[in-house]
Amino acid sequence: MKIAWKNHLTGYIFIGPFVLGFLIFTLVPMFASLYLSFTNYDLFSPPKWVGLDNYVKMFTGDPKYWKSLKVTFLYVVGGVPLRLLFALLIAVLLNTASRAIGFYRTMFYLPSIIGGSVAVSIMWRNLFGDEGVVNLLLQALGLDAVRWFGNPLAALWMLIFLSVWQFGSSMLIFLAGLKNIPGSYYEAASVDGANAFSRFFRITLPMLSPVILFNAIMQTIGAFMTFVPAYIISKGEGGPLDGTLLYSLYLFRQGFVFSNMGYASAMAWVMLIIIAVLTAILFKTSKFWVHYESKGDS
C-alpha cells in the first residue's frame, strides 16, 4: 500500500509541472474567457455582465462577423483539399527509389520548416505585388497580371497558395504511411494484372485512408486558426475589402484593436464549437471511406 502510494507520488511529481501549467495557463483562462464572453469587457474597466448580447450581436448585428466566417470557410474548403492533394502527390513521387531522394525530401520539406513565419509572409507579399515575380511570370506566359491586393478573392487565393506551398508536414506523414504499405500487396496485384492506376486507387488509397483522415483533421483545425499570414499580408487589417479577414484575425482585431475583449472571447468560443462540430463530422463520415486493416472487413 505504502509503496504504491510512493510510486504514485513520483508519478505525480513528474506530471505536476504539466498539470499545473495546464491548469494555470489553459483551463483557468479558458473558463475566464467563457465568463468574459457574457460580459462587456474593454480591458480597462471591470467586465459588465451582458448575458448573451455578444452572441446575439455576432449572429444578427455584425456583417463583418459573417464576412470573416465566409472568408475562413472559403480558405479552409479551398486550401485544405488542395494542400492534402499536393502533399500526397509529392509523397508518392518521393516514395520512389532515387539516389537523390534524401535531397528531394529535404527540399520539399523546407517550406514547412520556415513556414508560417513572419518572414515568409513578407516574402509572399512581395512575390504577389503588382510588379512581383508572380505577375512577371504570368505576363511572360502571355497572361494578364492579377492585382492580388485589389481583388478580395485574388487576395484570398494568395493566402491559399501560401498554405498549399507549406505542405511538408502532411507530406511527411503521408510518406510514412506509404512506407507502411507492404510491398507484397503490390506484387500480388501486379501478378493479377493490375495497372499502376488501379494499384494506386485499390491499394494505396484504402491503405492510406487512416492517415488521410488524420491529416484532414489536423489540417482543417490548423487552417481554421490561421492568423500570421493574413495578419502580415494585409498589414493587420484583413483587406482588401475584408477579403482576407480570417476569423482569427477578426477576433484579434476585436480584442486588441477595438478593446472588445468580451466579444472576442465569445468569438473564440464559437470557433471552438465550429471546429469541434467539423471534426465530429469528419469522424462520422470516416466510416464510409476510412479502411482499418485490423477490423479485417475487406
Binding site: F25, T26, V28, P29, M30, A32, S33, Y35, L36, N40, Y41, D42, L43, F44, S45, P46, P47, G61, K64, G115, G116, G129, D130, R147, F149, G150, N151, Q166, S169, M218, I221, G222, M225, T226, F227, K235, G236, E237, G239, P240, L241, D242, S248, L251, F252, R253, G255, F256, V257, F258, S259, N260, M261, A264, S265, A268
Partner: protein, 446 residues
C-alpha cells in the same frame, strides 16, 4: 503540426490575457487611490531632497526609425543629467504600439511615460489609466513659456491626461516641379474644393496622381468643421452632424477622384510600404494630405524641394485647428509619477533635447524652445514652424479629444471609404450605414 501548436499557444495567451485582466483591474482602483494620497507623495519628496534615489522609468512611444534613433539619444542625455534615473525604452510602429499597450493596461503594467494619441486619450484617461497632470504643472512641469491653450489640448473634462508634445496642422504637401508638369505654376492659396477637383483632373490628364487620398476621419472632420458641424457630439455619445448629405458630398468627391484615376485606388496604396515608397517620393503623385510634422520626414526622403499649401475652402479658418501632434502621459500605475513628470518637463522644455527632436513630434509648445531652435533648423523644418505660426492666427479651437471607441469608428470609416473607392457601395448608402454603426459604438459612452 508546429503551426497548430503555435496558434493554440497564441489563443491560450489570448484567453490568459483576458483572464488575468479581470483580477488586475480591481487592483488598479485600489493602488490608484493610495498613490494619489498626498501624504505618500510629500514623503517621497522629502526623501528625494536628501539623496536621489535610483529610479527606473519605462518610456513608450511609436514612430519610425529616425524617431527611435533621436529619442534614444534624448534618453541618453537625460540619464547623463540625472544619473540616478534609468529609462527603459519601449517602441514600435503605430499599429503595434496600441496592440501592445492595451494588454499592458489590463495587466496594470503600463509604462511610466506613454506617448499618447488623441484617438486614445479619452479611452485611457476616462478609464482610469492615466494620471491627471494638473498638480504637476508649474512645480514640476514648467509651463511659463507655454500658452494655456496648448496645455489645455490635453484635457479630457477637467483632467489633464496628456501633455502636449508639439503642435500640428493638416495641409497639402506637394512637389512644385510636378505641379508645373501639369501646367500649373502656382496653387491659389485660397483655393476651393472645386478648384481642387479641376486640378486633380488636370493631373490625371497628364498621367499623374494628384494626391494619395485623404484619411476619412481627419479630412471629413475638417470638412464638417468648415460647415459648422463636428464629427462627434460634445459628450461623445453620437455623431455630431445631423445631415448625411455632408457625408455624401464629401465622399462622392473623394471616391469620384479614385474612379477617375486622379487618386490611386486602395489596392495601389496597399502596396506602399512606407514613406520611401510613397507615390509622391517616386514622382507619381503631386502631393499628400497629411499633418505638418510629417513634412520633415517626407522632405528628407524625397530629397527635393517640397512645399505646403493650405486646405481648400471655403471657411478654412473654421475648419482648421491646431492639434497636439501627440501627448506625453503618465500612467496611473506608475510608481514614480513625479520622476515621470520631470522627464516630460525635460522633453518639452529642454533646449538641448529639442535640438535633437527638432519638431518631429510637432512644433514645440514652449516659446523659448521655438526661439532657440530657429537658427539651427533645416529649411523643411523652418517651413513647418512658419506654417504652424501662420495657422495660429488662422484657425479655430480644436474639438474635444476623440471619444472612447474612436479606433473602431476609424476602422468603420476606412472600410466604407474603401468600398466607395472600389465602387461597391454608393455614398448615400455608406452614409446611412456608417451613421448606424458609428452611433452603435458611441452609444456605449452614454
Amino acid at each position: 503540426m508546429k503551426k497548430t501548436m503555435l496558434l493554440l499557444l497564441g489563443f491560450t495567451l489570448l484567453f490568459a490575457l483576458a483572464g488575468c485582466g479581470s483580477g488586475g483591474n480591481n487592483e488598479t482602483a485600489g493602488s490608484g487611490t493610495t498613490n494619489a494620497g498626498t501624504t505618500g507623495e510629500s514623503d517621497k519628496n522629502a526623501e528625494k531632497a536628501e539623496e536621489p534615489k535610483n529610479v527606473k522609468l519605462r518610456f513608450a512611444w511609436w514612430g519610425g526609425q529616425p524617431r527611435h534613433d533621436y529619442t534614444l539619444k534624448v534618453i541618453e542625455m537625460y540619464e547623463k543629467k540625472y544619473p540616478n534615473v534609468n529609462i527603459e525604452p519601449e517602441f514600435a510602429n503605430y499599429d503595434d504600439y496600441w496592440k501592445k499597450l492595451a494588454p499592458q493596461a489590463a495587466a496594470n503594467e503600463l509604462p511610466d511615460i506613454i506617448q499618447m494619441d488623441i484617438s486614445y486619450l479619452s479611452q485611457y484617461g476616462m478609464r482610469g489609466q492615466l494620471e491627471d497632470l494638473t498638480p504637476y504643472l508649474s512645480n514640476i512641469i514648467n509651463v511659463s513659456d507655454i500658452s494655456d491653450n496648448a496645455v489645455a489640448g490635453g484635457k479630457v473634462g477637467d483632467n489633464l491626461y496628456g501633455f502636449n508634445a508639439g503642435v500640428n496642422v493638416v495641409n497639402f504637401q506637394y512637389d512644385p516641379a510636378l505641379l508645373k508638369k501639369i501646367g500649373v505654376d502656382k496653387l491659389n492659396p485660397d483655393w476651393t474644393w472645386e478648384e481642387y477637383i479641376t486640378l486633380a483632373n488636370k493631373a490625371k490628364a497628364a498621367g499623374l496622381f494628384f494626391d494619395t487620398g485623404m484619411r476619412p476621419e481627419v479630412f471629413f472632420g475638417y470638412y464638417l468643421r468648415t460647415k459648422g458641424q463636428h464629427l462627434y457630439n460634445a459628450d461623445g455619445t453620437a455623431l455630431g452632424y445631423e445631415d448625411d448629405k455632408l457625408f455624401v458630398d464629401f465622399f462622392s468627391q473623394t471616391s469620384g477622384l479614385v474612379h477617375s484615376g486622379a487618386v490611386p485606388n486602395p489596392d495601389y496604396l496597399a502596396q506602399v510600404k512606407g514613406v520611401e515608397d510613397d507615390p509622391l517620393v517616386k514622382g507619381k503623385a503631386i502631393g499628400i494630405w497629411q499633418w505638418t510634422n510629417q513634412f520633415i520626414g517626407l522632405q528628407q526622403v524625397a530629397a527635393r524641394p517640397l512645399e505646403m499649401q493650405h486646405m481648400p475652402g471655403p471657411d478654412r479658418t473654421a475648419g482648421l485647428y491646431l492639434k497636439p501632434s501627440m501627448y506625453l502621459s503618465v500612467s496611473k500605475n506608475s510608481k514614480n509619477k513625479e520622476e515621470a513628470a520631470k522627464f516630460i518637463d525635460f522633453f518639452v522644455n529642454d533646449i538641448e533635447a529639442n535640438k535633437l527632436i527638432k519638431g518631429d513630434r510637432g512644433v514645440p509648445v514652449s516659446s523659448k524652445v521655438k526661439e532657440a531652435l530657429k537658427p539651427i533648423l533645416e529649411p523643411a523644418q523652418v517651413q513647418v514652424f512658419d506654417y504652424v505660426a501662420w495657422a495660429e492666427t488662422n484657425s479655430t479651437p480644436m474639438d474635444p479629444p476623440d471619444p472612447v471607441g474612436t479606433a473602431e469608428i476609424i476602422n468603420i470609416f476606412k472600410s466604407y471609404s474603401e468600398q466607395m473607392a472600389f465602387g461597391q457601395i454608393k455614398p448615400e448608402e455608406a452614409a446611412k450605414k456608417f451613421r448606424e454603426e458609428a452611433n452603435a459604438v458611441l452609444a456605449k459612452n452614454k
